[in-house]
Symmetry: D2
Subunit: 343 residues, 4 copies
């Protein structure tokens, strides 16, 4: 058994990590930190964990995590970068679910996250935790930067097209929609049921932090600059991300379905749906899967890729566990075989 | 007082027409037809109308409507074209909320709606009921084809750009999202709460009937061919349409905000929101307004227009009443001053 | 035209008052106060009011309201009682939508609201604004205490039974359910979409502030003590209250349907539905109506009354406008003819 | 490994069974029947099962199930009673998730389900599959009648009180609320998102089929007649049942919290929450747990029990698997350790 710690166990990604790790056959939840609830049973704060998680919250400091083999950060941006060096120094593997190690360029990080990076020397070592692209690097990583929720859905959808050089790279569009749990567990007016229920809107249309992350990822795949328009929207539901991706194909006669199928044939968590399908976020609710379909609408040389994930699983906690499995030499899907909750 | 009839008063657009017309100061609801409920009080079927609508359903045949001055068709596609000639012959103004008279070309209609048009000779006379484009023609029309819900939101959003010739017309993208009431009141599995609640998906990504209608409208505005990709999605909510529109601008330095403001300055039902805004469908819930915002995201010459309406009001019944007001010589907003229901 | 002021125009009941008053044919919105947004256009904060409300927020102090004929308090509990004496002294009618003047006994108020009452001398003068019970008193009132949302639904449901002495008064049960807008517009974790969507729970099962208010109202009707169990629940939706009321009848053979119909025959805002009906909150969404049905389930001498209202309209702003209409000598329904938004 | 069959794999309880059984460590899904989709891969119809269920639908006839050790019926009422005798004759254990074997009295069954029972001779043998009451009998049963969803929540809530004789049995009230998935996967107008979303209503207030089932269960526990009022309501959400139970206590001074805790101390799937708690349906979403809290509101000798389950798990498929585990000599929770999906 491997001892794992969770820093920030009181947000939605933290609770989701607990849900997954409590059922993982090879790990033991050794420490769950909280700034406000030290000493309180975790399952008292989150009654869905009754009978499954016995731990009590411990103080949010490095010392609480000293005996862990792996530590997950399910914290606001800017936390992991302050604690990671010490934990790594103790030989602990660090998996960050926030943004601290996602951007390779510390200047870019400072520009988008509003403060200097606390340990820029670690950025080159950090591995971007998208197994479908970086599986081998993840296997030997000791510091893993899990992708954001939107970037996971968008990069997986564009992946076969960009890798194979099938599209114009200068006018990509990602029209993305997320359930409200993606905004986290924060007491903000804009997240109230009365504000977000039965309504729909775009937000941050001109500038969103996931834009440079996606651009960085696609440019690595393409080996050259990419032009991307990225518009996020807030769905009146809790879990789920749907990315609708638009690109102009170089060869309008190409059949893209087999290209997608071939690219993901060995990927246990990516389903390429039959031609003509429309993936539904509910089918991946609570599961670590990404489901994708490709369409070529009439009247244009534009193709459309539809990509769905559960933002808290494949977009956060599940992907983090998948990365842990890889870095510990296990199968991708250990502890991640849960099936989407339909209806 | 003007006597109005409603054919098909038992679907969502029919009930919404009743809600609006019952409060209209210049009309009297003279006839509401139903195939199944003849003789039943309308308010027994729709208790929201208790105290406001005294009518009983009458038979769904032309004779029921003989004494009307105006007849609305809130029926499935293919109904109005079979009854309209007779009603017009009696001097009755006809306003169709379905698709029968939206496409000018009968061949195109047959291709998209699966049967020959029943009265192609009327197509050239029918006026497309989008007041912001065709107000004068509507004023003198006796046969009005109300636009579809998506086409209203999309055309109003692209309107200032296309009219002013500011964008490339060959790669327009409309990523559109609708509440489920847009699918009508039909006992279908795919519309169940258990199927559509807490989930999100695209549908008809490769081919949707509103595509030729939008293309026809934009081409009329532009005076030349338009290339449009149109992808509809189903929102887990009841009312509201959000169109996210993408186009490449010819002049990346142009300031588009004043162009939108100028174009809609005289339009009482279109609000151009301040720069940086994101319209929210809830703010037009139950009202006849369209709210629009323009954005230019970083990293591309693509502009983004966000356009919201209530699919049952500005996208159907409200726009039909607005057209009636115009054709009867009244103010646009008579009976349509209702305010969006927030929250 | 009558000049009205609204204190606290930034909560849900405040915005709902604005929606109703903006369309009221006999009033002018003269002042809307806000603590945080002085000078800002009201419709900028609430874009649903665009085109309908031109006012800007003014300071939240009595001087702002000096020229009003009527002032509504849509404020947290404890605000109106501090400003009402001054306004009344200026001859202004005061209508409080909060709890300050609902309980006749200042000791009881202090016990339930946690501070001494600021103007106990006004309590005996305040009229409880439930027109179906106190219409005549409201007509001549200068200080009106609008009932809470639950108390409106519960008292209207029990009213015919208690007035006519048909039930045992010692074991009444009110199982009540409310949409989340009833909790107000506050940045609290428990009101997030992620916390309240797709879920259901009771709250304050042992003690809720509407309990003494309902008991006071029912005891006034009955003329003797009443035993009431009152359990509120939070619905995963925005607007609407459903009260399910249980009482044991004295005469199991009595037919209660005609008793309900007779009692509310002259009440324009209360619909007694046909026997066997189940009122649906959606049918009163946005309207000032209460819809009621009576059932006698098998296997018991217990009867069940189902009573629905929109918590923000008949449960708050609409009832307040109805009271204003009465105190100004107008018809109950002036400005309140809006029809429930279905679907 | 044990071979299991599912009759009716296309409704919500059928798909939920597949979700649970696909992950069960000791069973193999040997047959899934369907009337309409024979030959089609199950995971094509239900994409949430992709990667987890390889089976194809087989014909809905007994021969398809001949090699099974256990057969589940996730069918409409009236199906299992026609096939069960043959399957039992082949030595197959039968677990019915519908109502066919729930009522011991065939006359009562005919009265409530509208047709004569097809195999009344089996009724006395059928064991009511509520493990918290009938665990030993279930262990040796070959025909198990799984309780309805409401009856599970209601009986578990009343259980400690009735067994210990602490309440008056003549005036019990169960005010119960269910998500719409409880109504099944049927193309009915009343189940549309546009009809059930953002709204709430009671239904079948005077007569519901779960009433005789609950009464039978409580009378068995009490050993004497029970008077129950049972009012179901439809929640605007998909999964979850909340029962709010009212009873008058014999001894108002009794402390009921320890009685509930003691009664369920050994029950792995029932959590008695700390005093003052309010269980939330989301915390058991997707899990087989029942969470219960007890309250004594002020002003009455009435106590209130709050009991929540997931209607498709502890109220259907999960409980069925729990019964299978018992009848096969396994631990209750084999394959049922899934944790509630929060948020």
């Amino acid at each position: 058994m491997v001892d794992v710690g969770i820093v920030g166990g009181t947000g939605y990604t933290g609770v989701e990590l607990l849900r997954l790790l409590a059922l993982h056959p090879q790990v033991r939840i050794a420490a769950v930190t909280s700034r406000a609830d030290v000493g309180k049973p975790v399952a008292e704060a989150y009654p869905n964990l009754l009978g499954a998680v016995d731990a009590r919250f411990v103080a949010a400091e490095a010392a609480s995590l000293k005996d862990c083999d792996v530590v997950f950060f399910a914290t606001p941006n800017g936390t992991a970068m302050r604690m990671a060096p010490e934990l790594l120094g103790w030989g602990i593997r660090v998996i960050d679910l926030a943004a601290d190690f996602r951007l390779a360029d510390p200047e870019l990080w400072a520009e988008w996250y509003g403060e200097p990076h606390a340990c820029p020397e670690l950025l080159s070592e950090a591995v971007y935790g998208l197994p479908e692209v970086h599986r081998e690097a993840i296997r030997s990583a000791r510091l893993i930067a899990c992708p954001g929720c939107y970037p996971t859905a968008v990069q997986l959808g564009f992946l076969p097209l960009v890798e194979a050089g099938l599209i114009h790279l200068d006018g990509l569009i990602a029209d993305v929609k997320s359930g409200v749990s993606g905004a986290g567990r924060k007491p903000e007016l804009s997240l109230l049921m009365s504000e977000t229920g039965e309504s729909f809107k775009a937000y941050s249309a001109a500038r969103h932090r996931h834009w440079p992350e996606v651009v960085q990822g696609l440019q690595r795949l393409a080996g050259r600059p990419v032009g991307l328009t990225f518009v996020p929207h807030l769905l009146p539901m809790i879990r789920g991300i749907h990315a609708t991706l638009y690109a102009r194909v170089l060869d309008p006669s190409a059949d893209l379905q087999p290209i997608f199928e071939a690219r993901f044939a060995g990927e246990g968590f990516v389903d390429v749906l039959p031609a003509g399908s429309h993936p539904d976020t509910r089918n991946v609710r609570g599961s670590n899967r990404c489901q994708i379909a490709v369409h070529r609408p009439m009247g244009a040389d534009t193709i459309v890729v539809l990509s769905v994930i559960d933002n808290l699983v494949k977009g956060a906690a599940g992907q983090a566990v998948q990365c842990m499995n890889l870095t510990l030499g296990w199968e991708d899907d250990l502890g991640l075989r849960g099936i989407g909750l339909y209806p």
